[in-house]
């Protein structure tokens, strides 16, 4: 299935790298590394050069922390989205928000995708995506309240819940007028899930792919990788790349990551293994 994410069009089977750019002082991995405007723009220059297809800009840390009002969130991300749009007229920009008012301002500033990481908490977000012909990411968070951690979460049928909720959000977005090729589903690793759940969601990615909706996975440096390998947050790159490789092979289309260059290589390699991408050079034994 082809993807159309705002101004970005991507062919059937093309795998995309979405670079995380946090406009937060307290996110779990980068801990404010791109909080300052200059540092954030430097990060954008870097990830574009490394092959990012989408820039995902977020203004609120996913975990618990100081309250960030919609106005404060907008102040963190909207001027920056406008600046990125000015610097890169053709790059696909995503905004990581669950709030429709922030989504609207982001689209007005040039965003192409609304990354609804908390799974439909604000149903008006889909209306905004439709109004601007933007893409939307429909994420499974198990009904969790934004910015909460999972506590003894249980699922009678994990994949049934993931697929049921995300495809319902996707259908709702379609009904609201979002173009089908702009709607993506995301199993929401670590959101409303313990490590066992996130591992199972990874292992069963193909079941999401089989729904026919394009699948995004966001596993980069997350706690389920840290707990699985018993590694702190700054040592999870290899585990993150393993998760990208497995989900890419299963058919996921978009990979939301911190390490763009490494992920690009993994995704390209998997695409070639699957026969979806011609190798860069094939002289070995062919001279």
């Amino acid at each position: 299935m082809s993807l159309r994410l705002g101004r970005g069009s991507f062919g059937d089977g093309e795998m995309l790298v979405m670079a995380i750019v946090n406009r937060t002082p307290d996110s779990f991995f980068d801990k404010g590394a791109s909080w300052a405007d200059d540092a954030a723009m430097e990060r954008v220059h870097k990830v574009v050069a490394e092959g990012a297809d989408i820039i995902d800009i977020g203004g609120v840390k996913a975990g618990p922390g100081e309250y960030v009002s919609p106005e404060d969130e907008a102040q963190r991300v909207i001027p920056f989205i406008a600046a990125v749009r000015a610097a890169y007229p053709d790059v696909v920009i995503s905004v990581d928000t669950w709030r429709h008012e922030v989504g609207r301002a982001a689209c007005e500033a040039g965003a192409d995708v609304l990354n609804d990481a908390w799974g439909g908490v604000d149903p008006e977000l889909a209306d905004v995506a439709a109004e601007f012909s933007a893409g939307i990411i429909c994420t499974h968070a198990g009904g969790a309240t934004p910015r909460t951690r999972p506590h003894r979460v249980a699922y009678d049928d994990l994949m049934g819940d993931i697929i049921g909720r995300t495809t319902a959000l996707a259908e709702a977005a379609l009904s609201a007028g979002v173009p089908r090729e702009g709607i993506v589903i995301d199993p929401g690793h670590d959101f409303g899930k313990n490590t066992w759940h996130s591992l199972e969601a990874t292992r069963r990615t193909e079941e999401m792919v089989d729904t026919g909706w394009p699948v995004l996975v966001s596993t980069s440096n997350k706690d389920f990788i840290g707990e699985t390998l018993d590694l702190p947050v700054d040592q999870r790159l290899i585990g993150s790349l393993a998760a990208v490789a497995v989900t890419a092979f299963a058919g996921a289309r978009i990979f939301r990551v911190h390490a763009v260059e490494e992920t690009r290589q993994v995704v390209d390699m998997v695409a070639s293994i699957k026969g979806l991408r011609e190798p860069s050079s094939t002289a070995r034994g062919l001279a």
Binding site: H151, R152, W196
Partner: protein, 237 residues
């Protein structure tokens, strides 16, 4: 006879072998839970009644399934092995698994108490358990504040320290008045599910003479655990 011993442990999945991974991050708490459960078993009860808080009332016998697969990491029962209506609610299933791990294989029944019930109703249930013909062991499931550190499920609440200290004191002293007075609002605010189990204990007649023997008291990932045993008939040294 009556309730001869009570044990309190948190309904924390991380304490269940098979769910906590290779490193066993909560090993000390697991040891603490095992030690108080062994005291419960060593009191030689005729049966164990497992009590936890939940969103509804319910009674279950030991034919009910554990359904721990819902937490991930454990295999789902095959179709027909466990009927859908026979599953223990999660905290009771945790209690059953911990009892099994501690070596209990005797008669067991389970009671889930709705958070809507009052302190006096919970105490009346405790008194009812204490008024039978058999020796009853009581397994109470619940934790203190789940807002006890920056890494807590409910983020950090500075009031958690006072809540946990008061909880530990009432357990150490077997203070039935303090247990009866636990506020439902405060417990809800702290994401604590220990109110009703302790208020059931407060209804047991012999509690007044029994202090809690603490096997473990600390926070783990921001959730305050107390593992304690109450020797209610004086049979244990």
């Amino acid at each position: 006879m009556s309730v001869v011993c009570a044990a309190l442990v948190p309904a924390a999945p991380v304490l269940v072998p098979g769910l906590s991974g290779r490193v066993q991050p909560a090993a000390e708490a697991q040891d603490g839970a095992r030690s108080v459960l062994r005291q419960l078993i060593d009191s030689s009860p005729d049966k164990v009644v497992v009590v936890a808080e939940g969103d509804h009332d319910g009674s279950f016998d030991q034919s009910a399934g554990l359904a721990l697969y819902r937490l991930g990491g454990l295999p789902r029962p095959q179709d027909g092995e466990t009927a859908a209506g026979d599953l223990l609610p999660l905290p009771l299933a945790i209690g059953a698994a911990l009892l099994d791990d501690a070596g209990w294989a005797g008669a067991t029944s389970y009671r889930l108490l709705s958070t809507a019930i009052s302190s006096s109703e919970a105490a009346a249930y405790g008194a009812q358990l204490d008024d039978g013909d058999s020796r009853v062991g009581l397994l109470l499931l619940g934790n203190g504040s789940a807002k006890s550190s920056a890494k807590a499920p409910g983020s950090f609440d500075p009031n958690s320290e006072q809540f946990n200290a008061a909880l530990l004191a009432m357990i150490e002293q077997g203070d039935r008045i303090a247990m009866s007075g636990l506020s439902a609002d405060a417990a809800r605010e702290q994401m604590s599910d220990v109110r009703l189990p302790l208020q059931v204990l407060a209804g047991v007649g012999s509690l007044g003479a029994a202090a809690g023997v603490i096997g473990y008291a600390n926070e783990f990932r921001g959730v305050y655990y107390v593992c304690a045993a109450f020797n209610l008939d004086g049979s244990l040294a």
